[in-house]
């Protein structure tokens, strides 16, 4: 028997039958996720798409396809994070007084943590990197990114992290600590299960992927701009992405190190953040927010960039105050590293420390306010086309301004003492991240959809989607501000009767229902648009009368993006080209294009094995994963033939065909 136990623990680590979900609701979640997975695999098998999937998607190095995959994963995770919310608000609507609701406290807290983790890392980050991959190379007139293999690896690591988070639904549990897993609660003493380990290792893996993507896009923007595109001629989206990617490069290493130290505490018994033994939990809290605050700007800056593009295009007018906008981005980038302490004014720091960080935080409102005024004046004296794409912008201004006001309140330390960790805070940051980030990403998707797929999204449904999201969002979060004033703290799985909270929680839950309908309509919108794709087809390649270079290509954009590299002499290069109506008579040239390779996927597979192995203490698997990663990197660096040549004659043939409205 001892031998058998030893055998099992060698091969399976801590993994055993007890890791399966303990109750009906958790089992339901597990069954759902497993059946979705099986359903997907069966669908691919029955429609005989494995080869196509492998050749066209899984091994691709084309940033446009990687972008589409990022967005698909993110939308899938939006459904998962949304299902989490449905459970949370249901629990909070009924778990009052003697009624303990439908979820156990631990399960509730796991869902809270999973919701935050998934929405930030796998939805917001995924949508952002997806849109960056799709659009940034084209906007700077490049056919590709600087490091295509690194870029693909970044995506696959993101994917591996996503799988690891969702694996916790089936095997073991997830962190019940809140999405930033403050110690000492997240230390082994208070969280002895694998939940926190799942959290650590999925973020380690996805975070490494983000860092790779960040470095890749810094170099891409700095080095791969087409001739003539000086810095002050770059589209505003590119500027905002450059800012965000610098933040990624400086902030994500902090996350990686912090999580590693926490992992050392848990696995090797060190005392970096433990209560006792010389550990200091506030060190962790400082470090995690030194990453966490810039992270907010990493997400929101690209959205700002998207809005800059959309407002100019749909107002048919140049972006107002271009250089102001650039300086505002630069200011935000610098300031975002100087405000982290405002997340814990209540730790008992002195007045000068709290006062300093409070004021620094407020200062960020200045460049943000300037951007807002510049957008408004871009619309002023324009010809505004009120498409659903622009509606997202208008919704953003309303929500972001309200949320921003709440943010300035929270930046005043004495006010923060009263509102910290309350639902007021929750309402504030959802207004910033949903209103600011998600609305921007949705606007970007509906704006650039025809460029990628060759047809527009259904406009009527698009408007309906917006209104459900917008109204639903206000209904879901205005009550949370009031609940915060009423003393309701975040992450409560239960509260006593007679506080007057229940009615507001029910209203908030109704808001979630409205948003849910909005999401359902979004899916319907995509389905209907695919069905009507011939009617919605974009033959011009420039459906919105665009201003930037991506609109100079045919829709859907060919895999080489530009048959001839575009000419740039001023800002809004395509707008200028349309006005000049010059005919391009330059000869075609050979194009070198990176070959497909499965090695990015292999590295991510190794990373998954490494993470899963450490989570369950299956050491052979962890070591195997590490070896796979190292060997694959060595093999890849030996390969000197990573590109192939698309001859000029073929480029010419394809270009003529696309120009004549044909498709491949």
């Amino acid at each position: 028997m001892d031998k058998l136990n030893y055998f099992a623990s060698f091969w399976l680590g801590k993994l055993n039958l007890k890791a399966l979900p303990p109750n009906a609701i958790q089992m339901g979640g597990a069954i759902m996720i497993v059946s979705i997975l099986i359903g997907l695999l069966l669908f691919i098998t029955f429609t005989k798409r494995w080869k196509w999937l492998y050749k066209e998607w899984l091994t691709t190095q084309d940033p446009k396809k990687i972008g589409v995959m990022y967005i698909l994963v993110a939308l899938g995770m939006l459904l998962r994070g949304g299902a989490d919310v449905a459970l949370l608000r249901t629990q909070q609507s009924i778990s009052v007084g003697h009624n303990m609701g439908i979820l156990s406290a631990s399960h509730f807290q796991q869902i809270v943590s999973a919701h935050g983790t998934i929405m930030i890392f796998f939805v917001a980050m995924g949508l952002m990197f997806g849109l960056i991959n799709l659009i940034v190379p084209m906007q700077i007139g490049a056919r590709d990114v600087a490091f295509p293999f690194l870029n693909a690896t970044g995506f696959w690591l993101f994917f591996a992290g996503m799988i690891l988070v969702n694996a916790s639904l089936v095997l073991g549990d997830f962190a019940a600590t809140g999405w930033l897993a403050y110690p000492p609660l997240s230390e082994l003493k208070y969280s002895p299960t694998v939940g926190v380990d799942y959290w650590i290792w999925s973020l380690e893996i996805a975070g490494a992927g983000s860092l790779m993507a960040g470095i890749n896009f810094i170099v891409t923007i700095l080095k791969m701009r087409v001739k003539g595109m000086s810095f002050m001629k770059m589209p505003m989206f590119v500027w905002s992405v450059l800012g965000a990617m610098f933040l990624v490069a400086f902030a994500f290493p902090i996350l990686t190190v912090t999580l590693s130290l926490l992992a050392l505490d848990r696995d090797l018994g060190t005392h970096f953040f433990t209560a006792g033994g010389g550990g200091n939990m506030m060190m962790y809290v400082n470090l995690i927010w030194a990453w966490g605050h810039p992270e907010v700007y990493i997400l929101v800056l690209p959205s700002f960039g998207i809005f800059s593009e959309i407002v100019a295009t749909f107002s048919r007018k140049k972006l107002f105050g271009y250089s102001s906008m650039v300086w505002a981005i630069a200011a935000i980038v610098l300031l975002s590293f100087t405000v982290w302490l405002h997340h814990f004014f209540t730790m008992g720091a002195g007045s000068n420390v709290n006062g300093f960080f409070g004021i620094m935080t407020m200062i960020i409102a200045i460049p943000t306010g300037v951007k807002l005024f510049n957008w408004l004046f871009t619309m002023y004296r324009g010809k505004i086309k009120l498409d659903s794409t622009l509606l997202w912008f208008i919704g953003f201004v309303v929500i972001f301004t309200i949320g921003g006001m709440a943010g300035v309140l929270l930046a005043v330390p004495p006010i923060d003492y009263q509102l910290h960790n309350s639902l007021f805070l929750v309402a504030h940051f959802h207004m910033m991240i949903v209103g600011g980030v998600l609305f921007g990403d949705f606007a970007g998707i509906s704006y650039w959809f025809p460029k990628i797929f060759g047809f527009k999204l259904n406009e009527r449904l698009g408007r309906l989607v917006f209104w459900f999201w917008f109204v639903g969002f206000l209904v879901a979060f205005i009550p949370l501000y009031i609940l915060g004033f009423m003393g309701a703290t975040r992450r409560l799985d239960h509260y006593s009767a007679g506080l007057g909270w229940q009615a507001l929680f029910v209203v908030a839950a109704f808001g979630v229902v409205l948003i849910g309908i909005g999401v359902g309509l979004q899916i319907l919108q995509i389905v209907v648009s695919i069905k009507d794709r011939r009617k919605l087809r974009d033959v011009s390649g420039d459906p919105w009368n665009g201003r930037t270079l991506e609109w100079s290509t045919p829709s859907p954009v060919p895999f080489y993006s530009f048959a001839r590299l575009p000419l740039v002499s001023e800002r809004d290069a395509f707008w200028a080209a349309k006005r000049l109506k010059q005919k391009d008579t330059r000869p075609y040239e050979d194009i070198s294009i990176p070959k497909n390779t499965p090695l990015s996927m292999v590295i991510a597979g190794g990373a998954f094995a490494l993470g899963f192995g450490i989570v369950w203490h299956i050491w052979w698997m962890a070591i195997l994963g590490l070896v796979i990663i190292i060997v694959t990197i060595i093999v890849r660096s030996m390969d000197e033939h990573t590109e192939y040549i698309l001859p000029a004659a073929e480029v010419e043939r394809l270009d003529r065909m696309y120009a004549a409205g044909g498709s491949n």
Partner: protein, 298 residues
């Protein structure tokens, strides 16, 4: 349905919602907006002041947004000026760098002053000497020790009205945050550390206190009652609690076991120096704790 009619219906609907919600909100208790002590009161006033100042910038944004979208929308059939290349004007850009900057300068001054004035460690000026209460957050309840009165309680404090209360706060467990919104803002309770908070009530009443920071499965039940009362009732309460069973090693160890939704408990004669020894015990390894005899404590 005509567009105008539709607008009327939407407007009417919003009005009805507003009326119903304000009737509801006038009937419930909103602690942060109904302060019962000087600290919470100043924090509330500050909140109003800052909100008012921000409206100087926020209202124009909303008005401009509505005005510009309405006026320049291409659904608006009237002819409007259109200047597609107007993208820069030093004066107007200067104005909207200047206005938010000026506002933030004012807010910064207010913030700096208020942060000093409302420093939670700052004693409250009063003719009455403050009552010291040592607070320990445990899994999952609050232990309150009154060193001067030689009693201890769980999830319940009583103190005289118009008398400052001086909390010393630590944790025997994961981090928590002590918050009594009607009396003051919150402050963290951290193992191995000691934070402080001064509060005062200027009205008799029972105020809800809770933990604002997640600390495990019993976190939602870490609610306590803070009762501000007259001197006489307070003294009588002290006498009553003094006859409770003692908080000795055995009962302390019993208490420190994790427990959920704990009803108020009363102890007399708490172990001397319990609070300081607890803080200290988290700052040293076990063998050092043994040397000074506090290894039993956590």
């Amino acid at each position: 349905m005509s567009k105008v009619k539709k607008r009327w219906i939407v407007g009417l609907f919003i009005l009805v919602v507003l009326v119903i919600s304000s009737i509801y909100l006038s009937k419930v208790n909103i602690p942060v907006l109904e302060p019962k002590g000087p600290i919470a009161d100043q924090e509330f006033r500050l909140l109003l002041e800052v909100t008012g100042l921000m409206l100087i910038v926020v209202l124009p944004v909303f008005i401009l947004l509505g005005y510009i979208v309405y006026r320049y929308s291409d659904q608006n059939k009237k002819k409007r000026p259109y200047s597609p290349n107007w993208d820069h004007n030093l004066l107007v850009e200067g104005i909207w760098w200047f206005i938010p900057t000026a506002l933030i300068v004012v807010l910064a001054i207010i913030t700096w002053r208020a942060t000093y004035a409302l420093n939670p460690y700052k004693p409250i000026a009063s003719n009455n000497a403050p009552i010291v209460i040592q607070v320990v957050s445990m899994d999952w309840k609050w232990l309150f020790i009154y060193p001067k009165y030689n009693i201890a309680t769980v999830n319940k404090i009583v103190f005289p009205v118009n008398t400052p209360v001086h909390f010393y706060i630590t944790s025997n467990a994961p981090m928590n945050s002590l918050w009594i919104p009607q009396l003051s803002g919150q402050i963290y309770a951290m193992a191995g550390m000691r934070t402080q908070l001064y509060i005062m009530a200027n009205q008799i009443g029972n105020y809800r206190g809770s933990s604002a920071n997640i600390s495990g499965i019993g976190f939602a039940g870490m609610v306590f009652d803070a009762q501000a009362t007259t001197n006489n009732i307070f003294n009588a309460w002290i006498r009553k609690v003094s006859s409770s069973p003692p908080l000795n090693k055995a009962s302390y160890l019993q208490l420190s076991k994790p427990s959920l939704y704990v009803k108020p408990k009363y102890y007399s004669r708490p172990i001397p120096n319990l609070f300081n020894d607890l803080v200290l015990s988290y700052l040293m390894p076990k063998y050092e704790q043994r040397k000074i005899g506090i290894a039993w404590i956590n």
